[in-house]
Symmetry: C2
Subunit: 477 residues, 2 copies
Amino acid sequence: MTLYTNLADLIGERIEQGLYRPGDRLPSVRALSQEHGVSLSTVQQAYRHLEDRGLALPKPKSGYFVPQGRDKPALPKISRAPQRPVDVSQWDQVLEQIAPSPRNDFVQLGRGRPDIDSPTLKPLLRALSRLSRKQDLHTLTYGSIYGDVRLREQVARLTLDSGCQLTYEDIVITTGCHEALSAAIRAICVPGDIVAVDSPSFHGVMQALKGFGMKALELPTDPLTGISLEALELALEQWPIKAIQLTPNCNNPLGYIMPEANKRALLALAQRHDVAIIEDDVYGELAFHYPRPRTIKSYDDDGRVLLCSSFSKTLAPGFRVGWIAPGRYLDQVLHMKYLGTGATAQLPQLALAEYIEGGHYEPHLRRMRGQYARNLEQMSDWVSRYFPPSVRVSRPQGSFMLWVEMPEGFDSQRLNRELAAHKIQVAPGSIFSAAGKYRNCLRMNYATRPSPIIEAAVRKVGETVATMLEESPPPRN
Amino acid sequence: MTLYTNLADLIGERIEQGLYRPGDRLPSVRALSQEHGVSLSTVQQAYRHLEDRGLALPKPKSGYFVPQGRDKPALPKISRAPQRPVDVSQWDQVLEQIAPSPRNDFVQLGRGRPDIDSPTLKPLLRALSRLSRKQDLHTLTYGSIYGDVRLREQVARLTLDSGCQLTYEDIVITTGCHEALSAAIRAICVPGDIVAVDSPSFHGVMQALKGFGMKALELPTDPLTGISLEALELALEQWPIKAIQLTPNCNNPLGYIMPEANKRALLALAQRHDVAIIEDDVYGELAFHYPRPRTIKSYDDDGRVLLCSSFSKTLAPGFRVGWIAPGRYLDQVLHMKYLGTGATAQLPQLALAEYIEGGHYEPHLRRMRGQYARNLEQMSDWVSRYFPPSVRVSRPQGSFMLWVEMPEGFDSQRLNRELAAHKIQVAPGSIFSAAGKYRNCLRMNYATRPSPIIEAAVRKVGETVATMLEESPPPRN
């Protein structure tokens, strides 16, 4: 523990105890420096730490404040998934969601895009430009199917933060996390196999299961702690499950971080029933609290966890560079990668390697974590203000997605059609379920810095939800 | 017909009639200008045309010559494929071929790499550099799942040369031709389905069939005219074939161009039996003769042909940018692309669009066609000189691969192991067959400009083949 983290913890406790209330101005840097006998820069570091954790909000020229509070809306209910293996559907809805890009005139609250306006991304573009100017034509040829060694080394180093002990030889670079997940699924399963998934869950995985002819077994999932271990254990006893696929850190779409004890228990279950775990950690580095949460992979002692991630949510989706640490399934994953795309594009890999080697990645992550935590405050505030009080709202612990649950019977696809007239798009909940559940839910992105345009869009969504609920009130449960 | 093509045809005929013999000096530009009453520049154009067709070879300061002839070795036999659907194997051999890249100290005669040292590629790198310098962050975000519109427009325009009438709406950009083929196969087939293929055939497709659980039906293929239509017709009557996958133009590995009548007949067969055609045209623009050969797609009037290609063989493999014109299967292909990788990387697409829009692509193709035609002369000459006379050799009509067939019983995998000691690698024939046939064959790449290093390597391959044949002479047929 350092001086500044001690101080930050102290102030954090006071806020959580209610000594400072939402909206209150926090003590000035000078005052705290005198009170605790530490330097001004130590106090500043402490405040930056609190900012990262979403507990302090800087206002230019007026100091730090406790972020605006509100009566927190209720959490989404624990999902009641069908608990039997189903064929995945909803491709038409997913296509509607992803196809019209870029519809630049729409406020796209539904997309999974990070903010790409941060100045901390500039060194990445400079690296790209430098590599292109070199004109040594090296970037034009096929790279290794494993990926660039320098980038693999950097990825291995980054995974130390999540508790892993990997070397570059454990890492295969992929065309986005999408290919990592898709190759992982095909490395383990054949058509007809059953994969247990958290629910709601990433639609890319749902569609991959559909496309490859596997069945999804959606399991009840708690909006704060993740997949139900009891339900998983029952399912493992009842069905011939081949793999468990889940996003335990900063879950998409619910935003929870699975407690470490649950991660260990889930791994133990997988070992007892000898099934593989496909762990999507693409948002793990965007947890609001630092140090970042551990991965299930970090506890893996027999190579059954396939850890999948990418730089699409932290840096540049358009680079299409992801990676997988496939454990004992390396050969199979390599085969599936080969027959899907061959090698991954060279230049973006080299630019990323330079960027990370140059020490630009960690400060960028720090900045984005802080920004997303502040944006969440603002988005939550807008939802409280503009949505009817009957909605339930997730409490993300990282990343940049909010999940809103309307009463049963609400139709978020109809909502999206109404919103299209106002050039606004949200993600309908049904695409996050193999069985088309969560039609009464939606996901909104809060990556972009708050602006009057976004506020107006969120307000319009809330008002349209209210109108729809008034017109056809849901049946009483 | 123009003046210069008329003149070129005339000289070409004289060469083919034997009036000028291999090694002969051709008439000087001045002499021809006087003889035919045309300008010096018309004669020069005619010679450049002949050069493109591999019929004239310029020597600095001494004029044009008929390329060194040799007694042409026999053609490979018509393949005797198993003619029943089989499960694909050979992944371990393919991995051996592709995995150790870049093994820079090896002379890699086995790879499918184009030459990337041409100065005509420089504008592509300049486009990349310019786009990176712009720093408008546009390249960082997800692109459309269909691909960049500007690039799709350029691709549609380029396909005019092969007789197609497509618009950008018919084109989907993919992560290399690899993804185009893989998505096409999955768009049409489910596990257990049978796909008819030419034989020998591209190992990427073989492995895709294996990975997705389909069966390959290899059909006899003529080394000059391609897949046997008689065998295909029999197979279509006998088996429930879902698709025909083939590379009719500058075939990999045999190099033939399927005659246009055969292409039309194959399409008619496919229509009669209602099966899809997955046409790999990745080498079509590298045909030695200009204008380039037509695609089967160009005759397609009911959308059953899925035309797949990329810029990996003509420009930059490391960009991983390919495309597909999926005809009536657009929705399914899009779905398969989505669940495999999502969108394709943005920056390489934008750089390619700029390069093609800027008029750099056609001159580059022209240059590469000429270079590969000349390299083929040289490589054929070396093979005649250094290989034992019992080998049979393909007569490629484009691209940069030579197929060499040794007597039955020869083991090209053992050959590769012997060659490893000399840091040379060829592609063993068995990876081009689902059933592991063609173990007595090998493929060599002649993309790189001839050099003493390459000559020494080809010589070593030939000598090792000779030694192996002497040690264990093949059984008499």
